[in-house]
Amino acid sequence: MNIADVQIVSILPQTLLLAAALVVFLADLVWKDRKGIGLLALAGVLATFVATVVMLAGPGVPTFQHMAAADRFALVISLVMSAAAVLAVLVSLDYIVRVDLPAGEYYGLLLLAASGMMFLGAATHLMTLFLSLEILSIALYALAGIRTTDIRAGEAALKYFLLGAFASAFLLYGMALLYGATGTTSLAGIAAAVPSVQTDPMLIAGLALLLIGFAFKVAAVPFHMWTPDVYQGAPSSVTAFMSVGAKAAGFAALVRVLVAVFPTLYAWWVWPVGVLAVLTMTWGNLAALAQGNVKRMLAYSSIAHAGYILVGVAAGEAGVSGVLFYLMAYALMNIGAFAVLIALERAEEDAAGVELERMRGLFHRRPWLAAAMTVFMFSLAGMPPLAGFFGKLYVFSAAVRSGLLVLAIIGVINSVISAYYYLRVVARMALAAPAEEAEPARCPALTIGTGIAAVGTVLLGIYPTWLLNLVQGTLAVLFGG
């Protein structure tokens, strides 16, 4: 192992984000224009997006020693992340001025978190995996508590932090046991050693602890208790980014570890993952039914969606492309839904999120905004021909192909249940408007963000094949060279 094995291009998207974050921090010292700093951040994430697209088109798999690899799996995750980051910055431009958040720290931490997520997607070594998970987690703890004038945000941040750190300890213990069982910390090394140690008790225990740690990070039931409060307490733009980014990154790492490193132990991890999937879907949907606050409802709905994605993970190698497709679709539709909430949110009254009643009459006041929200709700509910439908179709059909028919059936039943609370929002928007309702915010960036998300959700539904071709067979080369 020497310095010649380093292909710097393998971490290009992440490095661009880090550079952008540093520029944002420095600019913040001399430049007090919050929109200007937001535009700098936007330039950074757009550059990352372009770099990722160019790398996806390019041949070969650049690697950084055995620490990280820019294989197609990692690049698709980078694509999801940079799309999510572009949308998150767009919806934040006006919002952070409205709710008075410090621009430099906000955008800087957002970019650092995004780079941590991309590193997690590219990690091929337990150490890179652990550190990038911590970069994104710690940046998100701080972002969740960034509204320091609001005690609810502080409490959400504290809860997130304590449970997140607790989960990290389990994850780390799992890694230590894997190291003990196989004698190495590189994923390729562990994968090579697994067949010879097979069901060594230490290996199984390490895998189980790792699973618990990841279940916390992706908010799977019964390790979800932090999610509703954190998603509700954090500023909406942060919630939008965190619900998509942290989830996608967590699933990326989980899929790489389970499917690529432990394929021979499939029989051992498929049932725990399947049980987690069933609990997560069912509990998330049932709890979402009871919510009168749209932001909190979306928090529970995000738990439910983690459950659908877990169905894809349980399907093993057949489910990988479905999971990637789902993550992209979820990024577009969920950030879009939050963008609409951000437009409706008023700084003083709606610190805890927009109540369902406030959606009343939106179709009459702002028809386009309401139409966009309708697209997002239909897509989240899984109606054809929108992105969310194909996401569910691919993960459920993968589950059927892997012989997990029961999981797929429970998933479909859950989608039907979930339609109720998504459609309730749409129905509320179609009712007559109350007279004294305040005008939702108008801001070009927010409109562009909402528009991109809506168009993306529709296009991904009408032409799912291009993304599907991209995500097919990503696991062919998993550890780079």
Binding site: S115, G116, I135, A142, D200, P201
Partner: protein, 180 residues
């Protein structure tokens, strides 16, 4: 790995001290005593690291954990009122019992796994205590860190940047909200 009788005695002694420290963290009524228990635990572990031929990490443990981290905790405690009793009560009996039961099961499982350990788990590397004694622990660790583990090393620096920015942001919040 076989230990000489002296080493065995020391391992057991430091282990007992570490457990005593950890227990006093969770049992002390007052948070300051918890912090001191944590200090005892950290120092005992540092001693064990040095015995396990990880000298650099033993010293780093003393500086980072026993020094910086414990002091930060004590600062925070003093700042938010170290004098008053830290908490009104423990969790309700049922929850605490359920939690403890879970932990006992967990511990039993790990202990069982370790006892079943074949002893030769994993492929052995080449870094024996003799090699460490010959080349020096810091040289070996430094070369490995900066050649083989350069990416995690850089990631750790990014992580510290996140920590610094986040902590400064959270701490200077008051001033910012007063500007309005």
């Amino acid at each position: 790995m076989t230990a000489t009788p002296l080493e065995t005695v020391l391992f057991i002694a430091f282990g007992a001290v570490a457990i005593a420290g950890a227990l006093s963290v969770i049992l002390a009524r007052h948070a300051v005593y918890s912090a001191l228990g944590m200090l005892v635990n950290f120092v005992a572990l540092a001693a064990m690291y040095i015995m396990l031929s990880a000298e650099f990490l033993g010293i780093a443990q003393l500086i980072v954990y026993a020094g910086a981290i414990v002091v930060l905790f004590l600062f925070a405690l003093m700042l938010i009122g170290g004098r008053r009793p830290a908490e009104q009560g423990r969790l309700t009996g049922g929850l605490a019992a359920a939690g403890s039961a879970l932990v006992v099961v967990f511990l039993a499982e790990i202990a069982y796994l370790v006892m079943r350990l074949t002893g030769t788990a994993g492929a052995k590397g080449t870094v024996t205590p003799d090699v460490i004694a010959q080349l020096g622990h810091i040289q070996l660790l430094g070369a490995t860190l900066l050649l083989e583990y350069i990416l995690p090393f850089e990631l750790a620096s990014v992580l510290l940047l996140v920590g610094i920015v986040g902590a400064v942001m959270l701490a200077r919040a008051r001033r910012q909200s007063r500007q309005e």
